[in-house]
């Protein structure tokens, strides 16, 4: 993927760039907001990573200008620690996701991957299918290899999110936000218990691991090669 990173802290930027490059992405880097804006408008990117706290031109101003000039590239905002208000503002200004600094690289990587738009297949899929797993969004029914699996509403949402991001790493925090709407981290690992219950129901007797645990990062719904 081709990414744009707008970040004024050189050291942090170098670290992020190295990580993203190692993950196989091409990363363009802008140290100032103005430079970032120019690149965002002139080039085409899959995802833009934008620091909110930039000298001279503020991150949100850049985001608004970008959106006003018709750039619809998904934007991941990096915000300061503890700023609840920041997230709301960022999303209102046209951001697609946000990440609080300091963050684990795995979190950033997972969120960048989740943001990247997949090539459009169906306009609005009513059925999600991964290997022999089938999730009907309208009937709220999940089947595996033709046999029906009973899921709790929250487990259904969890599976839906994993299937929508099949093959990509999804972090605990992303699931907390998407499934429970919690933008804070409870001490109890509720995601883990729910994932393991879901796993139990999906993989009962199959011995075939469908939801993989990615160490230090999160979970991934395995897509057969």
């Amino acid at each position: 993927m081709k990414l744009l990173l707008v970040e004024d802290d050189g050291e942090a930027a170098a670290y992020v760039r190295r990580g993203l490059s190692e993950a196989g992405h091409t990363v363009d880097y802008a140290q100032s907001g103005r430079e970032g804006l120019n690149l965002a408008i002139s080039e085409t990117y899959d995802v833009i990573i934008l620091d909110r706290m930039l000298p001279q031109v503020e991150g949100l101003t850049i985001l608004r200008t970008m959106r006003a000039s018709g750039v619809s590239t998904p934007v991941l905002l990096l915000t300061a620690l503890g700023g609840i208000e920041d997230r709301v503002e960022g999303l209102e200004a046209g951001g697609d996701d946000y990440l609080v600094k300091p963050f684990a690289f795995s979190e950033l990587s997972a969120r960048v991957n989740a943001l990247a738009r997949r090539p459009p297949t169906q306009a609005a899929p009513t059925v999600l299918q991964v290997a022999d797993l089938r999730l009907d969004l309208l009937k709220r029914v999940v089947t595996r290899a033709g046999s029906r699996i009973d899921l709790q509403p929250r487990e259904f949402q969890l599976l839906e999110y994993l299937m929508r991001h099949a093959g990509r790493v999804v972090t605990r925090t992303m699931l907390l936000e998407a499934v429970w709407g919690f933008h804070f981290e409870p001490r109890t690992n509720i995601v883990e218990t729910h994932v393991s219950r879901l796993r139990g129901k999906l993989e009962r007797g199959s011995g075939h691991e469908l939801i993989q645990t990615v160490r230090g990062a999160g979970y991934r719904l395995r897509v057969p090669d």
């Binding site: 700023g83 208000e85 709301v88 509720i190 218990t193």
Partner: protein
């Protein structure tokens, strides 16, 4: 001294009072004069009428005798009797020239000086004329007495005013100086100082008492600030020390796997530290009240349900039972995410500080005062005395020191409750603990 408000006030009042005394003096002077003049006039007319009567009944000799007699009496009026052609016949005033009616003439007095005399002249017919008058000197003398009296009074007022003003302003100045001295001492860091009270509860005493209460409040704030900074430092020292040791150990070890493990453990420690910071920042952001703009009508029972549903499996794995007790929707106005966090924190507390086998119930109901959310466990509970302090930042029970936790959970609960205008309290659930959040009436 001239800058002193009390002195200026005293001077102003003294001046006003002196003016009042002077006006009063002038009025009394006029009034006495008027009264005296009228009295003399009355006496003069009465005498004139009496002597005219005498002239008519007793004849010339009778009246002359009467005039001479009266003229000799000390302190009496002045008299004069003239014959035809203005010939003076008897009395001191007989030399005065005056036409009928009232007039003022100048006459040599007994002492030799000339003095003004106000007189009344009566034409008795046949060329005879009677003059009755009185020396104005007497009235003037009386004026002098009144004026001197008031001058003394005025001087007294001014002296008393000045002395009183000085004493008053000295007193006030001492009290103000005491206050500003205390303020200076506090600026210099002696926060224990307070303004002394006289116990009279006058307005200055009341001001000083208010001032002292404000100082108490500032003292509390300073103390809690100091406490919080101490607590932050203290609470972070342990994880930071551990973090340092882990990193050092990682640096020393040659085994790659062990090193990776140590670094991973260090990251866990670091995340705990960051979590503490995030918690503190979150609390202060909530306390700022900015989130109130995001308030929406929501169902408290649904929010609690979401949390219970999310935590029930984990609770079960930990050997505890988590359940929701709610009869139906309980509408409140609030921030859904923050309220979810409030419930999460209370539930986690309930699950964490109770022994295996305990039950934690989340009860959402509406009582007559408004919506109420309670998280009730059947664990060991807490000592009553500790209940209030549990909502303080970093306050942890002695027996909880060993369990992981930032000590910010309940402080965050308190902040979120306050933002929603709700009261947070801990109650004895006998056995166990009830954390109760009482919301204000909806709508």
């Amino acid at each position: 001294m001239l800058r002193s408000i009390s002195l200026r006030l005293a001077a102003l009042y003294t001046a006003l009072f002196a003016l009042a005394v002077a006006v009063l003096g002038a009025m009394i002077l006029f009034a006495t004069r008027e009264a005296l003049a009228r009295q003399f006039e009355a006496r003069i007319t009465t005498e004139s009428v009496a002597l005219a009567q005498e002239f008519r009944t007793e004849g010339l000799n009778g009246v002359l005798q009467a005039v001479r007699e009266r003229d000799r009496t000390p302190g009496a009026l002045d008299y004069g009797f003239k014959g035809p052609g203005g010939v003076p016949l008897a009395g001191r005033l007989s030399t005065a020239r005056a036409s009928s009616g009232w007039s003022v003439v100048s006459l040599p007095s007994r002492s030799g000086r000339s003095s003004a005399v106000r007189l009344f002249s009566t034409d008795l017919g046949g060329g005879y004329r009677l003059l009755v008058g009185d020396d104005l000197e007497q009235i003037e003398a009386l004026d002098g007495v009144v004026l001197r009296g008031f001058a003394v009074a005025l001087l007294g007022v001014i002296l008393l005013g000045a002395a009183g003003g000085y004493a008053l302003s000295r007193d006030m100045q001492q009290r103000f100086a005491a206050m500003s001295g205390v303020a200076e001492a506090i600026i210099d860091g002696d926060l224990a100082r307070r303004v002394p009270l006289r116990g009279e509860m006058d307005d200055l005493d009341r001001l000083a008492a208010t001032f002292n209460r404000m100082l108490d409040r500032i003292g509390q704030l300073m103390e809690s600030l100091r406490q919080v900074s101490n607590d932050i430092a203290h609470d972070l020292r342990t994880p930071l020390t551990r973090l340092r040791q882990r990193l050092e150990a990682a640096l020393r070890t040659a085994d790659a796997e062990q090193r990776a493990e140590a670094v991973e453990a260090a990251l866990v420690d670091l995340d705990a530290i960051l979590e503490t910071f995030a918690g503190l920042l979150r609390i202060s952001e909530i306390e700022r009240g900015a989130r109130r703009a995001a308030f929406r009508p929501l169902d408290l029972a649904a929010t609690a349900g979401l949390v219970v549903e999310g935590f029930a499996p984990s609770a079960e794995e930990g050997g505890r039972f988590l359940s929701l007790v709610a009869d139906g929707p309980v509408p409140v106005e609030g921030d859904a995410e923050l309220l979810a966090q409030l419930v999460v924190n209370l539930v986690e507390n309930g699950l964490r500080h109770t022994p295996v086998g305990s039950a934690v119930r989340v009860v959402v109901r509406r009582d007559e005062e408004g919506p109420v959310l309670s998280v009730i466990d059947d664990g060991p509970g807490v000592v009553m005395a500790e209940q209030e302090r549990l909502f303080d930042r970093f306050y942890r029970l002695e027996r909880s020191r060993s369990t992981p936790g930032s000590g910010l959970g309940l402080a965050l609960v308190a902040a979120i409750a306050k933002l929603h205008g709700a009261r947070a309290g801990l109650f004895d659930a006998g056995p166990g603990l009830e954390a109760r959040i009482s919301f204000p009436p909806h709508g």
